[in-house]
Symmetry: C2
């Protein structure tokens, strides 16, 4: 029987954005094998019904379980908000972590932080998933949310710190910044690409940036250590998508810092 | 039997962008009844396979035919490129016009225009649909294409002429403008929203802007006149979407210049 330590970590997202999570996991755990699934045929999930998102998420979960993963990371905010419980149930003994819980735990663990900002897509902001997660921990925390719909297409275009990106961030964050937030959760898997530029835009330089991708990578590392499941001899990174591998391959570099070795297409059902 | 003149014109798109076509048709033919269908549950079409786009397009065509439309306008560039022939066949005696043919006919009819620019989404540009349509007319015409992926999210955000929109257009058009184009086809249904600002961005003020929405509206008017099917006593505008009517209702105003009276949800199969 294969040693469970040497089996891969499964990471999935509705598309390409979850590669920021893959990058953070590679940085934190360079000797782990990773399988990434991006549902590029059915992206975006944010405009779909909860029921549809759950169906898709469970299909991907089953695909990852068949690959023998030792852990599943939900890198998609929409799936984290809509389907986490169903995935945990389907995964059985395989631990499941999600970006919303990881980002929230990171934010609420900061000392004296009673005003937390969250930026995300319109779907994530409207779902109130971060607000609920933060209030489960402490209902007295003030949460300020701001939807930033243009950041996803900007990231996919590779416009991370040009004038358009900076102007866009000013439009979204200038007023928001005045609300007294002490930390800012990047509540969308695309947003870590703007991690360097956002502090230059914010008027208050003391605002702590919470990168959900880094947060979930740290949570994964801690959980694997706790379960004695850390791999010290791996390092493979395998990508699967449901459509358009070429486009994925091109854009992946921006998110991952390097091109994936190869991208395979899988049809789910 | 109902007089065919008094039956509606059917217009459809993968989402909301086709409302620019609806607006142009309302402006050109204010006494026609119009039925608009936006496939908001399955947008965007540009990332889907041709086969899937054809299946969806035929479902919508059948829906419009059941509503008794006298003409069908394909307001979606992806559908125009992938499924026009299938729709014409399915529509039988009902005439079908599409944005690519209408925009192309308008561009090639301009005198001495041997250098035509086309801007569109990545999917439209990669499909070469405009290039092929123009070359069918005259293979010696030089066609310069430029994908402008950020214009759709900018239009949906309502950022039409702010600094971000202007900077974005400069990024896309500054070099493109140097290529010697004499006319510029707005090859995406969202782009007519930038029709006022684009001439201010272009260095060459002689470039003629071809608005595919206006082009198809003019074609529709001419075709209805030719068939003696002009309605002089209508003016209703009915909207159907496959999901999220509220969001559609909100964004529609930017495209239409006014809020639609009501939006109904239809599930297609």
């Amino acid at each position: 029987m294969q040693d469970l330590k040497n089996t891969p970590i499964g990471i999935f997202d509705s598309g390409i954005g979850g590669l920021t999570v893959a990058k953070a996991v590679i940085d934190a755990l360079p000797t782990e094998d990773i399988i990434y699934f991006g549902d590029t045929a059915r992206v975006p999930y944010g405009i779909k019904s909860e029921e549809t998102v759950r169906t898709y998420a469970l299909q991907i979960t089953n695909f990852l379980l068949k690959q023998g993963v030792k852990m599943i990371l939900i890198a998609c905010n929409t799936v984290s908000a809509s389907a986490k419980e169903q995935i945990i149930k389907a995964a059985g003994d395989v631990p499941v972590l999600d970006v919303i819980t990881a980002g929230t735990n990171n934010a609420v663990s900061l000392p004296n932080h009673k005003n937390i900002g969250v930026i995300g897509t319109l779907a994530t902001v409207n779902s109130l998933a971060y607000v609920e997660a933060i209030h489960t921990f402490d209902p007295t925390i003030n949460v300020e949310q701001k939807a930033c719909p243009l950041l996803v297409p900007l990231a996919e275009e590779g416009w991370i710190d040009n004038e358009v990106a900076k102007q866009t961030l000013h439009f979204y964050l200038d007023d928001f910044d005045d609300s007294g937030i002490q930390s800012l959760i990047l509540g969308c898997t695309h947003y870590p690409l703007f991690k360097e530029v956002i502090p230059k835009i914010l008027k208050n330089s003391d605002i702590e940036i919470i990168d959900s991708a880094e947060s979930i990578a740290e949570s994964a590392k801690a959980k694997l250590a706790e379960l004695d499941l850390l791999n010290t001899s791996g390092g493979n990174f395998q990508c699967f998508v449901s459509d358009r591998p070429q486009r994925f391959h091109e854009v992946a570099e921006r998110f991952l810092g390097r091109r994936p070795n190869g991208v395979e297409v899988v049809v789910l059902d």
